[in-house]
Symmetry: C2
Subunit: 416 residues, 2 copies
C-alpha cells in the first residue's frame, strides 16, 4: 500500500481557531531535531519559559507548555490540584465553562456552578457572592468564551479569591496574545493559554503558568518514578496522594523543566521550536500593539458585517474582541453558506455549539489570521455567498465600509 | 523584551530517540494550517488511520494518534480500560516496564509484576505461568526496552492472554517501524507506538491501535460532554463509571476520529502532517525492507564497536535490533566522552538509567538516523573521544571493519 504526499490547500482561516500560523513559525518547525537533553535544546527551553512569563504578564517561576492541545493544559492544572471531594466552583457562560466541569468532576471534584444566559457574562459581584456561599478550594473560570463571543471580567473575582485563600484557575486559551491577560495583576493562580488561536502557532501545545500557591499543592503530591528515583526522592515524597495522571503530573513536569531535567516525556521538539518562534514574534510586535491590532481588525469586520444589514450577536462591553458572532438571517441555509465560502473562496468561518448552533456564525480575527486582506476577503465571501443563497442583505456596502475604516485609520496615523 | 530567532545546530543523533526526522517530514510540517473540520483535513485524518493499520499490521478499525508524546499513548490506553481495583500484570525487564506500573497504579490498578535481571528478557512460559496464577484483567508489556537494549518475544504471551480472555497491551514505542510488530498475529489487543524513534517523526504524537475487545470496555464507560451531547447521547451512555481523564478518554476520541467528528480537542495540525508523511515514507520503503535496513546498520555498528575491543552489553538472541548498548571501559570518564562527541563532532549518543547508569552507553540506529554515514560518523567520534580520554582501545580498526561490512554487502547485492 502506498499513499500520496499530502498537499493541503491554502485557506483563509477566520474561525476562532485553529487559525493560520505565522509563516515564520511554520519555517521554524522545519528545523532539524535536537536531543531533549542537548544543551542547545535545554537553553532554548529556558528561553521559552522566560518569554512565556512576559506573554502571561507574570513573575511566576513556572511557565512552560504541556505537550498536548489546549485542553491538556486545563487538565494538567486541574488534575494536579484537585483531590476527590474538593469543592470546585465554576461560573459557566458557554461551552468551555462546561468543559471545565467535565474535567474537574472526572477527578472527583464536588462541582458547584453558576450559569448565565449564553451571550452574557457575569457581574463579578454575583460570582463573588456565590463563592462566599460555596467556599470552594478552587474557582475555575473561562476568560474568553469562543462559543458565545463573550469575555468575563476577572480581576475582582481574582482579588476576592485571593482574600478568601481560594485558588483561581483561568482558561485563557482564546485570549492569550490577542487581548489583555494580566495574570499577576488579576490575582490568577494558574492560567492556561492556547497556541492555535491568537499566538498563531499550530495546535499541539498548551502553555501554562502558575504561582507558589499552586506549586505548594502540587509539591505535596510529588512522587518520582521508579527507575529514575533516588533515595533522596523517596525521603522528600509528598504527604498527599499522588496526582492521578502521570502525563499531566505537574510535580514531575517541574523536575523536567528545571535544571535537574529529570526524564519524563520526550519534549515535542518541533512544536517547541514553533512555540519559541510564535512567542518571539508576539514579543517583537509588542503586546500592547498586538492588542490594538486585534481591535482594529475587529472594528473593520464589525463595520463590514453591520453594513450588510446583519446583526452582531454579542455587541456589549464584554464582547470578546477576537471573535465576532454574526446572527444567521432567518430562513438561510447556514451550512450551505459556510460550504460555499470554503469551497469557492477557500475561506473558513465557524458554526457554533449547543443552543447557538444554527443561530450564529463565529468569525475569528486571531493572530496571523487577523490581517487586513483576510478581513476584506471574509467579508467578500460572506456577502457573495449570502447573496447566492438569496439572503436579503444590503449589497456592495460591506467592502466600502471596511475600506473606509482602514483608509481613515491610515490617514489618521499618517497625520498622528 | 525581545529574543533572537532560534537556530538549532545540526546534530547526528544516534540515541534511542528522539532521532533525526526525515527531511520530507520536516518539510511537511511547514505546510499551511487547515481547520480541523475542513474536509481536506478530515480526509487526511482517514488516510492516517488507514496507513497506521498497515504499520501496526492489523485489521483493527481503531488506529489513530493521541496528541501527546509516547507516554500519552500509554496513559490513554491504560486509563481507558483500568478501573480501580482491576488486576494488571506487568513483566518488568527495564525502566519502561516500571513506567507501565507507574501509570497503571495511579489509576487504581492492583499491580502484579514479575521482574528479571536488566539485560535479560523473560522466557514467555514463565510469564504465562505467572499470568495463570494472578488471573489479571490486563497484561501490559514492553516490546523493546530501550533502557537495556532488549526485546521481549510476545506472541506466546499474547496467545495465552487471548485464551484466558485477558486484555494484552503492548508498548511498541521503540520498535514500531524498525522491527516486526505484528499486532494481529501476536494477539495484541492494544499497541502504542512512538513517533520520534523508528518512524522518524518528531516527538509529540503517539499512534495507537486497538481491537473490539478494548473498544467494548471503552464503550461501557462512554460519556459525551455537556455542551455538545444530544438527548441520544444521554440514552446510550455507558453503564460503567466514566474514564477519569477527559483528554485521554478513548470513547470521546473515537467520536472525534469517526464520521461524527464530535468536537473534543483541536487536532494538532502540523504534527498530523508530520505523522502522515512519516508513515507514508515507511510504507513507500516497505516494512520488510525497512526492518532489513535497520538490521544491516546494526550489524555494521556492532562490527565497528567490537573491532575497537569494546563489549556489547546485550548481544543475545533478544537484543533489540535498533539499540546497541556498549559497555563503558573501566575508569573512563563516561560523561566526558559523550560531551566530547557532542561538542566536537555534533554526534549524540545516550547514557542510561538506574542500575545501568555509568555502566553502558546506548547507541540507536533508528529511522532516518539509521544510515551509513551516521554509523561511520558515530564510530569515528566514539573512537576518537575514547582515545582522547586515554581508553585502551584498538585504534583504526572500527572504520575498516564497518567499511568492509558495507562494501561486501553491496558487492553481494550487486551479484545477488
Amino acid at each position: 500500500m502506498t499513499i500520496d504526499q499530502y498537499l493541503p490547500p491554502k485557506r483563509t482561516i477566520m474561525t476562532p481557531g485553529p487559525v493560520e500560523a505565522d509563516p515564520r513559525v511554520l519555517r521554524a518547525m522545519s528545523s532539524p531535531i535536537l536531543g531533549q537533553f542537548d544543551p542547545a535544546f535545554t537553553s532554548m527551553m529556558n528561553e521559552v519559559m522566560e518569554s512565556l512569563r512576559k506573554v502571561f504578564r507574570t513573575n511566576n517561576h513556572w511557565a512552560f507548555p504541556i505537550d498536548g492541545t489546549s485542553r491538556s493544559g486545563l487538565e494538567a492544572v486541574l488534575c494536579s490540584i484537585i483531590q476527590p471531594g474538593d469543592k470546585v466552583f465554576i461560573p459557566i457562560f458557554g461551552r468551555f465553562g462546561q468543559l471545565l466541569t467535565e474535567i474537574a468532576e472526572r477527578y472527583g471534584a464536588e462541582i458547584h456552578t453558576l450559569e448565565c444566559e449564553w451571550g452574557q457574562v457575569f457581574d463579578p459581584q454575583d460570582v463573588i457572592n456565590e463563592i462566599e456561599n460555596v467556599k470552594p478550594k478552587i474557582v475555575a473560570a473561562v476568560h474568553g468564551e469562543t462559543s458565545t463571543g463573550c469575555m468575563q471580567p476577572l480581576k475582582e473575582i481574582g482579588k476576592a479569591c485571593r482574600n478568601m485563600n481560594i485558588l483561581f484557575v483561568v482558561d485563557a486559551v482564546a485570549t492569550i496574545g490577542g487581548t489583555e491577560v494580566n495574570v499577576d495583576e488579576w490575582f490568577i493562580d494558574a492560567a492556561i493559554g492556547g497556541t492555535q488561536k491568537c499566538l498563531s502557532v499550530p495546535s499541539g501545545m498548551a502553555p501554562i503558568t502558575y504561582n507558589e500557591r499552586i506549586e505548594e499543592v502540587v509539591n505535596a503530591r510529588k512522587k518520582v518514578e521508579r527507575g529514575i528515583a533516588t533515595s533522596d526522592d523517596n525521603k522528600t515524597k509528598g504527604n498527599q496522594p499522588p496526582i492521578t495522571s502521570n502525563y499531566f503530573d505537574l510535580s514531575q513536569l517541574q523536575d523536567y523543566w528545571s535544571p535537574r531535567r529529570l526524564n519524563h516525556h520526550t519534549e515535542a521538539t518541533s512544536m517547541l521550536y514553533a512555540l519559541h518562534e510564535g512567542i518571539r514574534i508576539v514579543l517583537e510586535e509588542g503586546l500592547e500593539y498586538r492588542f490594538y491590532r486585534h481591535q482594529q481588525h475587529e472594528q473593520a469586520l464589525k463595520t463590514g458585517v453591520e453594513s450588510m444589514g446583519l446583526a452582531i450577536y454579542v455587541n456589549h462591553q464584554w464582547k470578546l474582541p477576537v471573535v465576532t458572532c454574526v446572527e444567521i438571517p432567518e430562513g438561510i441555509n447556514a451550512d450551505g453558506v459556510r460550504q460555499m465560502m470554503l469551497n469557492q473562496f477557500g475561506v473558513e468561518i465557524a458554526s457554533s455549539f449547543g443552543p447557538l448552533h444554527g443561530k450564529i456564525w463565529r468569525i475569528g480575527t486571531m493572530g496571523y489570521s487577523c490581517r487586513k486582506e483576510n478581513v476584506l476577503f471574509v467579508l467578500t465571501a460572506l456577502e457573495a455567498s449570502l447573496s447566492y443563497y438569496g439572503a436579503d442583505i444590503k449589497k456592495g456596502r460591506a467592502m466600502q465600509a471596511a475600506l473606509t475604516f482602514y483608509t481613515s485609520e491610515e490617514t489618521a496615523k499618517e497625520r498622528g
